[in-house]
């Protein structure tokens, strides 16, 4: 099984990017509100200043060569109606002060452009906003530019602007929190189809190589198509391998059977004892080859199926009896009786029936092979809380004194069985099947008599 290393999370990335966008937008909101509100406040002040200047300007007239300015009460009182600001004014004719604060700075461009001009300056220790309103006035024979300057401090504006900044910041933070929550929901929502697809693939059985039929969003369709194509290829490849195994078994076993049959016919027709001996050797070799080929194919099949167990609920007693039934003709030849004991209500084992049958057959094969004629083989099925155990006890020659771990190695055989045909694959197959099912194989001496006890322990379902 290959391990897939996770590198970054799609979900986190999406969420982080959405949050980043939300943060940028929040800042933009903050600055926009602040700037706009400040502009609005400044515009309000400018409007009042120019209204005041207009009122003063309209009250200016020339009389007998003299400029008279009757400053209306409202011109200055209106400035006091909004905030308690300091107010200054000045009326100039060309560059001469007619009335008011004669040191109030006049924006330079007012007189030249003839249009209202606003300026911000420091006057008498405070920042003031100055509106300058120029106008032409005929005094006697000449025309002068009469400029009315009205100025107001911006202390209140500073307070208002602070208030606005705080409100704008609150709005920005609120917006960020809201969009953060929405981002979280949106991310989860966006990831849902991906999770659903992953789950639907994960839920499939090991043998299920059919195409994934879940509907998926457009972006996932290529992935899904690749997955389905891959599974189709895998499925075809598996089918080919199984066909090959069946094919190989057929191709190896059929000629061997022919060789054996022809050798037996020949055995009957030859007379010389040495020729008979040769033919018996041929038959023995053919048997050994056939058995080895069968076991090799079994081993290949076990290896293939172990990766993808097709598990079902199995009653081990039924399974054992099936195997005993299939092997009894061979046993009968040697007058060996095989008995099966254990209750019918034994817990089920979850496993691949073909593999487990194969394993049990290998054990019984061995038992038959190494048992003397007219002996007994016992199959005992027992269970405890979490396991089901199958013991196969024979009365054969036992395991010998050699290294017992070698017995389950591929092509490994005991030292005391050189005289009997064997491939050395039987116990290897058993071991592989049992460990694929999470169980274990133990080989011990038969406690009752001389012989071997092979025990399979499998977890119960």
């Amino acid at each position: 099984m290959t391990v897939v290393h996770a590198r970054g999370s799609l979900r986190r990335r999406l969420l982080l990017q959405l949050l980043l966008v939300a943060a940028i937008l929040s800042f933009a909101l903050y600055f926009t509100v602040r700037v706009l509100a400040q502009q609005a406040a400044e515009t309000t002040q400018d409007n009042i200043l120019i209204a005041s200047a207009t009122a003063i300007s309209e009250a200016a007239r020339a009389e007998r060569g003299q400029i008279l300015v009757d400053v209306p009460y409202s011109a200055l009182s209106m400035l006091g109606s909004i905030a308690e600001e300091r107010v200054f004014y000045r009326v100039t004719a060309d560059d001469l002060t007619v009335t008011g604060y004669d040191d109030l700075p006049a924006p330079a461009s007012a007189a030249e452009t003839g249009k209202p001009v606003f300026a911000t300056a420091i006057y008498r220790d405070d920042e003031v906003r100055i509106a300058a309103l120029p106008r032409r006035l005929t005094v006697g024979d000449e025309t002068v530019i009469l400029t009315v300057l009205v100025a107001q401090t911006r202390l209140g504006l500073a307070a208002v602007s602070l208030q606005i900044s705080i409100a704008a910041a609150a709005a920005g933070i609120g917006f960020f929190l809201l969009s953060g929550a929405l981002s979280w929901f949106a991310t989860n929502n966006a990831m849902r189809p991906l999770n659903r697809l992953a789950q639907s693939v994960e839920r499939r059985g090991p043998q299920d190589l059919s195409p994934v039929a879940t509907s998926a969003p457009t972006e996932l369709v290529p992935l899904l198509q690749s997955l389905n194509t891959f599974m189709a290829r895998l499925s075809a490849s598996l089918a080919r391998t199984e066909d090959f195994i069946a094919e190989a078994a057929h191709h190896v076993r059929t000629p061997l059977a022919t060789v054996r049959t022809q050798s037996e016919i020949a055995l009957r027709s030859v007379r010389k004892p040495e020729n008979k001996q040769i033919l018996r050797e041929v038959i023995r070799a053919a048997d050994e080859s056939s058995r080895s080929a069968g076991q090799l194919l079994d081993h290949a099949m076990v290896a293939l199926r172990s990766d993808n167990l097709e598990k079902e609920q199995l009653n081990m007693k039924d399974l054992a009896q099936d195997v005993i039934r299939s092997i009894s003709p061979t046993a009968d030849l040697k007058d060996i009786r095989i008995t099966c004991s254990g209750s019918d209500t034994t817990s089920a084992v979850e496993g691949d029936p073909i593999l487990l049958q194969n394993a049990l057959r290998n054990l019984l094969d061995n038992a038959v092979k190494y048992s003397p004629e007219d002996s007994r083989i016992k199959v005992e099925i027992s269970e405890d809380a979490s396991t089901v155990r199958i013991d196969v006890l024979d009365e054969g020659r036992g395991l010998g004194d050699g290294d017992r771990s070698r017995l389950t190695e591929r092509f490994g055989r005991g030292d005391n069985v050189r005289d009997i045909i064997g491939s050395g694959l039987g116990l290897t197959i058993v071991e592989e099947v049992v460990s694929a099912h999470g169980g274990s194989l133990a080989l011990t001496d038969n406690p009752e008599r001389r012989g071997t006890c092979a025990s399979l322990t499998l977890p119960s379902a």
Binding site: L68, V69, D70, V71, P72, Y73, S74, A75, L76, S77, L79, G80, S81, E84, E85, R86, V87, F88, Y89, V98, T99, G100, R124, D125, D126
Partner: protein
């Protein structure tokens, strides 16, 4: 050499001290001494010493280590002292609301805020620098004998009609402020002109009756009391009330169309040397608890936040930049000329 420099410096310093001490014209001056003075409070005020002395003593009773230096001057001299000469005072008290406003507007007053100042209604303070502590209505003071047999006027229109219909009775016997001389008179007249057009009709009628012009309220009241005047228009009611008890035939009338109310205000000049003490004195004047005390000791009506609800005709002069308008030299000249044209008829 060095000695002569020091001598020159000393002479220069003395000269500066002398000019600054005597730049403006003070009228009265008194040091309210205490046994162990810890601090001195310098007050520049337009209120007469006789009126204010009890109040200063009440303040000293609560602050027994404070020595008070009380200087009185006219409102224009007070303005001159603070605006032009940077005279060092901790407190400036004046009834000239326009000049006080200008001092604050032009940056000659310290900001001061306390729980006491917060108890004042909005119309009695401006920019946390100018605080009113009395409200003095402008009233009509008249002789009941002179009005015998005539209906009692309640507003300006009725008074104008009465004056028009009885020229014989009032010829040469009406008085009002000479607004050229009196700051309060100018303030009242300009506020009248703002409220209604009746000022100009009033001036015309009074001018036709050869109205007599006065510098101050007290003389007008005296002339009414002594029978030389039948009525005096726009007199400070607070001064007139003092004479009511002694003279049963003296009448005071608050017009029902509108009654201009002058506010006597206090501010802390920028030049104040002892801000804490100045703040204490401001608190003493504006405190809600001391309002009865001020009325008892000075006879001046203290600020009453609820007065506008009760007296519909009361129009306290509004503190704020509007008051700067009538300080404008061109405006003042134009206004006085128009007023004189109506009042002094050939």
């Amino acid at each position: 050499m060095r000695v002569s420099y020091i001598a020159l410096g000393l002479i220069g310093w003395i000269w500066v001290q002398m000019t600054s001490a005597h730049g403006f014209v003070a009228e009265e001056e008194r040091l309210f001494e205490v046994d162990r003075p810890a601090a001195t409070l310098n007050i520049l005020s337009t209120a007469d010493l006789s009126v204010f002395a009890p109040l200063v003593e009440a303040f000293q009773a609560r602050n027994p280590t404070v020595e008070v230096h009380y200087v009185t001057a006219s409102s224009s001299e007070l303005m001159k002292a603070l605006y032009e000469e940077d005279a060092e005072f901790d407190i400036a008290i004046s009834s000239a609301m326009d000049l006080q406003t200008k001092l604050v507007n032009d940056g000659f007053a310290e900001r001061y805020v306390s729980t006491e100042t917060a108890s004042l209604p909005d119309w009695a303070k401006w920019r946390d620098r100018l605080y009113a502590f009395t409200q003095e209505p402008a009233v009509l003071v008249y002789s009941k004998i002179a009005f015998e047999g005539l209906p009692q006027p309640t507003n300006r229109d009725e008074l104008i009609a009465l004056l028009r219909e009885n020229p014989d009775r009032f010829q040469g016997r009406v008085g009002t402020y000479d607004i050229r001389e009196s700051g309060a008179g100018y303030l009242f007249a300009t506020q009248d002109s703002r409220q209604s057009e009746s000022l100009w009709r009033m001036a015309e009628v009074m001018g036709r009756l050869d109205a007599r012009l006065y510098c101050c309220s007290s003389r007008m009241i005296r002339d009414v009391v002594e029978g030389r005047l039948a009525l005096a228009y726009n007199v400070l009611g607070s001064y007139a009330a003092a004479h009511l008890a002694d003279n049963t035939d003296l009448g005071i009338l608050q017009f029902s169309d509108f009654t201009t109310v002058m506010l006597r205000t206090v501010l802390i000049p920028k030049t104040a040397g002892n801000l804490d003490l100045a703040g204490q004195f401001v608190d003493f004047l504006v405190s809600e608890d001391n309002r009865d005390l001020i009325e008892d000791l000075t006879g001046l009506p203290a600020i009453d936040p609820g007065v506008l609800q009760r007296e519909a005709a009361f129009r306290p002069i509004r503190l704020g930049p509007g008051l700067l308008v009538y300080l404008d030299q061109l405006k003042r000249r134009t206004f006085i000329r128009a007023w004189l044209n109506a009042m002094v008829q050939p």
